[in-house]
């Protein structure tokens, strides 16, 4: 399946790797993740990873193609 490296890296995270990945990503975009937010952010990332896997699988070979301008 064709898929870009950044999405692949996100999809390949294990639950145990999410916290370190989140801190690295936050540092890269000047975002501070306070202690109060960590558990919920990690839970959301875990859910987003599951959901991303669903539509990436459905995209199949189209996964890394540019999106055409959307018309309803």
């Amino acid at each position: 399946m064709a898929i870009d490296a950044a999405t692949r890296a996100f999809l390949d995270l294990t639950d145990g790797e999410i916290a370190a990945w989140a801190q690295a990503r936050a540092a890269a975009i000047d975002l501070t993740l306070s202690e109060a937010t960590l558990a919920a952010v990690h839970e959301n990332l875990s859910l987003l990873r599951t959901q991303t896997a669903l539509f990436v699988a459905a995209l199949s070979e189209h996964a890394d193609e540019p999106a055409p301008a959307f018309e309803p």
């Binding site: 898929i3 870009d4 993740l33 109060a36 937010t37 859910l47 995209l59 540019p66 959307f70």
Partner: protein, 464 residues
């Protein structure tokens, strides 16, 4: 108890049987009486409304022509720009923002038809939610059961109409934020085709998915308001370029014609409460819909919308997430933070799937004029309720109320959310889905159901 509709009020004002001032004062009195229980309004514009009503009455006395919504009070979700009032978008962060100098395009268009703006309405912060349990302004209460949510994110808009405070409100819908509260509050809600109504002056949530729309207590009121808001606004909203295609004069005839109606199965039947499926079956039988339609891509479409939303919104909010994250509603902040962390390529992939799923649904519409599905998986949950049972599992209320609405708004199709006629019971709505740009078909099907008595907006019992 029944509430006068927009058409009824406008006819009476035009005929001189009442005045715009009297109707405006009556609406203000209802807001004054009921808003403490509902918490639907976050601002009431009595001075502005009465001034406009007096000017309208003076024109009527002078024999001048007046608009089709003469004297009809209406209100808007508080992410619509109102001149002189901070556009809160349900947030603390925008409370100190400079107020806009102009009203949003849709407000201007309704006021050009002589409707009277009376206030701004509660919502989930930055439209990110299905519950309207706002951390800053408090929860909006469902008029049919004050212990339950009104749905969201346009919860104030739905509660204000359901509670009879005003006959017409505006809201926005990105993932279900018109259809969910319309369903839970037992009224009609219209989410038109993506790009149909201008979003100029509407604070964005996810521009790729944002729609503006309306709530009313009858199909006719909704069709008229929709017609008056249509038309290009390319300077204000680059995607709003389509010529107006009025429906109000056509849907009555259209409702008499046979419609080919299918019922969505598969993803759209999984996890729905039994009473929701029973309500859908009532509607399907009334429209002689016998065919089940399976959209194999629906679950992936929902997942794509679910991921596109926080990535795009997280990017929009990045500066505030960096500078003042603790000023957000925690339930919103934590999802925005997660979205901001995701690579943009996730959003690009989510965008890519839109055309694939759109084409799948277009093929289904080759055999059907209308597709039906529940609007929400359940009747209104309780205020403060965090989980519910869905498909035998305990799941988050906030993250799952929109399971049946998200795949449809993802591809921008027009939907009428219509309240199934279940007097004395908690409201349940259905989605009447039409092909792109065919709002007329959705409204005609709604009108047919309304005439048959299968859908109806009931006045709540026991509103204090």
């Amino acid at each position: 108890m029944s509430f006068p509709g927009a058409l009824q009020i406008a006819a009476a004002v035009r005929a001189g049987q009442t005045t715009a001032r009297a109707e405006t004062k009556a609406a203000l009195a209802r807001i004054d009486q009921h808003n403490s229980a509902l918490n639907a309004f976050t601002a009431v514009l009595a001075e502005r409304a009465l001034a406009r009503a007096d000017a309208l009455d003076a024109r009527i006395v002078a024999g001048q022509a007046v608009g089709p919504l003469a004297g009809v009070p209406f209100a808007v979700k508080n992410l619509f720009d109102i001149a002189g009032l901070p556009t809160l978008a349900g947030s603390k962060i925008k409370r100190d923002a400079t107020p806009p100098s102009h009203d949003a395009t849709l407000i201007q268009r309704l006021e050009a038809a002589d409707a009277i703006l009376v206030g701004a309405l509660n919502m989930d912060e930055f439209a990110y939610g299905f519950v309207t349990e706002n951390a800053h302004d408090g929860p909006t209460h469902n008029p049919h059961d004050l212990t339950r949510i009104a749905g969201g994110s346009s919860g104030g808009s739905a509660a204000a109409v359901a509670g009879g405070l005003v006959p017409l409100t505006l809201g926005s819908d990105t993932n279900g934020s018109i259809r969910i509260p319309a369903s839970l509050c037992g009224i009609f809600g219209l989410k038109p085709t993506y790009g149909r109504l201008s979003r100029q002056g509407v604070f964005p949530f996810v521009e790729s998915l944002d729609h503006a729309g309306a709530f009313a207590r009858s199909v006719e009121d909704l069709a008229l308001a929709y017609d008056l808001m249509q038309g290009p606004d390319p300077d204000g909203d680059a995607i709003c370029v389509r010529t107006a295609e009025p429906v109000a004069d056509r849907i009555s005839d259209l409702a008499d014609l046979p419609l080919r109606v299918g019922v969505l199965g598969g993803w759209f039947a999984q996890g729905a409460f039994p009473e929701v499926l029973e309500a859908l079956d009532l509607v399907a039988r009334a429209l002689d819909a016998k065919d089940r339609v399976i959209l194999p891509g629906a679950q992936a479409a929902r997942a794509a919308a679910f991921c596109l939303t926080p990535v795009e919104a997280g990017e929009l909010h990045l500066a505030n997430l960096q500078a003042r994250p603790m000023d957000y509603d925690p339930a919103v902040r934590d999802r925005l933070l997660a979205g901001a962390l995701l690579p943009q390529s996730v959003a690009q992939a989510a965008q890519r799937y839109r055309t694939i799923f759109r084409d799948e649904v277009r093929r289904a519409f080759q055999s059907f004029d209308i597709l039906l599905t529940p609007a929400s998986v359940c009747p209104a949950p309780g205020i403060g309720q965090t989980t519910m049972e869905m498909g035998g599992q305990q799941v988050s209320v906030r993250k799952n109320l929109g399971a049946f609405t998200q795949p449809i708004s993802y591809i921008g199709l027009p939907v009428l959310a219509a309240p199934v006629n279940r007097p004395g019971q908690l409201p349940i709505g259905v989605q009447i889905i039409a092909p792109a740009w065919r709002e007329d078909l959705a409204l005609a099907a709604g009108l047919k159901l309304q005439r048959l008595g299968v859908v109806a907006a009931h006045a709540p019992e026991g509103l204090p």
